[in-house]
């Protein structure tokens, strides 16, 4: 076990982690936003909207993330080029980000939907009785309460996403795991670097889960 090559590799590893965290940050933001819209669409009284949203969610929850990442890597530049009429190269980072957002949105949608449905109908009635519109009732009364309730689950899903970001190796993006693996291969010490990567992922995921547990206790009624 020779750990001497890890220190000089640290700057590269940090860069990889930064990429991982960037992907995570924007994917969570975009995913939750899109997921919330999907949840509202799925619960809407408009049959077209609710069926479309349902189809989207069921579809993305039935296929592997790796598949989505690989598809989007080829499809996104192609579709954008087709729309704008000229070939537009999109970096792997952007196509992966879009893939993550669209994939996770399906999972976030179900969490948000459960959250909204767990808020008693009386709250919505009270809001409407005061003269609020659907949009006001959602924004001011229902969604704030739903998010508070669903925060632990949303965070758990994000921790899973954090680990899933490692799948971008498939399209050559140098995230943390991919960087660790390649650094290890270069110096001929794959085991040490993978062990390090495993330890780092474990530390981050585990600490995050502990925070989520504390949050759950704090928010419990």
């Amino acid at each position: 076990m020779d750990l001497s090559n890890i220190v000089p590799a640290l700057p590269g590893l940090v860069e990889g982690m930064i990429l991982t965290l960037e992907l995570l940050f924007f994917a969570v933001l975009g995913g939750v936003a899109l997921g919330t819209l999907l949840a509202l669409a799925r619960m809407s009284s408009n049959p077209v909207l609710s069926k479309l949203a349902g189809f989207y969610v069921n579809y993305f929850r039935s296929i592997p993330l790796l598949l989505v990442i690989t598809w989007f890597y080829f499809m996104v530049p192609f579709i954008i080029g087709w729309i704008t009429g000229r070939p537009t190269p999109i970096g792997a980072f952007t196509s992966c980000l879009i893939a993550f957002m669209m994939f996770e949105a399906a999972y976030y949608c179900e969490i948000v939907r459960a959250g909204i449905q767990s808020i008693s109908k009386g709250q919505a009635n009270a809001a409407y009785a005061l003269g609020m519109t659907y949009s006001q009732a959602m924004r001011l009364i229902i969604l704030p309460q739903a998010f508070r309730k669903m925060m632990p689950l949303l965070l758990m899903q994000s921790i899973i996403l954090f680990q899933d970001t490692s799948l971008v190796y498939a399209v050559g993006l140098m995230d943390f795991l991919n960087t660790a693996r390649s650094k290890g291969d270069i110096v001929g010490q794959p085991h040490e670097f993978l062990l390090l990567a495993g330890a780092v992922y474990f530390l981050i995921s585990f600490s995050a889960s502990m925070i989520v547990k504390r949050l759950q206790k704090k928010l419990a009624v």
Partner: protein
Amino acid sequence: MISIQNINKWYGSFQVLTDCSTEVKKGEVIVVCGPSGSGKSTLIKCVNGLEPFQSGKILIGDTSVGDPKTDLPKLRSKVGMVFQNFELFPHLSITDNLCLAQQRVLGRSMDEAMEKGLKLLDRVGLKAQANKYPGQLSGGQQQRVAIARALAMDPIAMLFDEPTSALDPEMVNEVLDVMVELAQEGMTMMCVTHEMGFARKVATRVIFMDQGHIVEDASKDEFFNQTRSERAQLFLSKILQH
């Protein structure tokens, strides 16, 4: 002021309201009573459009509740409603509960809303609780705040859906006192309740419902002393024993 005309409502194939008609004039206090499942809560929720109905007409002033062209939020802002489970917004402070709708629906400024809200809070005897959260108040206190919240919108009428049914017996009176005061000040009120003492005190008319029908609709004195229908007599005999 409120005109309910031949309302019929179905949940799927089950008819919950059959040909319900009644009028509530300005300043009247109408008490709606009846056994569980009689449709009284459903009827009152139809008045402000929280529940849709398939046939019939409900007019508040000149506005038809069931008309798809009606601006329902605007109409609802003029009719206050108090719920059995209080339904205060738990993530907001008492002050915010009172001011939110005033600002967002009526467009009042923060100062105006606060002034009105605190005045009403004082009126229901809870000024000291202004900065607390609903979870820190007792049921009776929450319901009084809920009444203040509805009154803050300066409604033309108030609807009460079993306002004291979820309260401990000790707290029922503090809420009823507020309602009695409101009635004596001339507010047009429609209350679904089992509190016959309240009805005897301030009701103009009492409506008795059973299985989706309005079985009796009489002035207070007639209802209590010269009850016409057998079903209403049976109901009264059972509940007035307490």
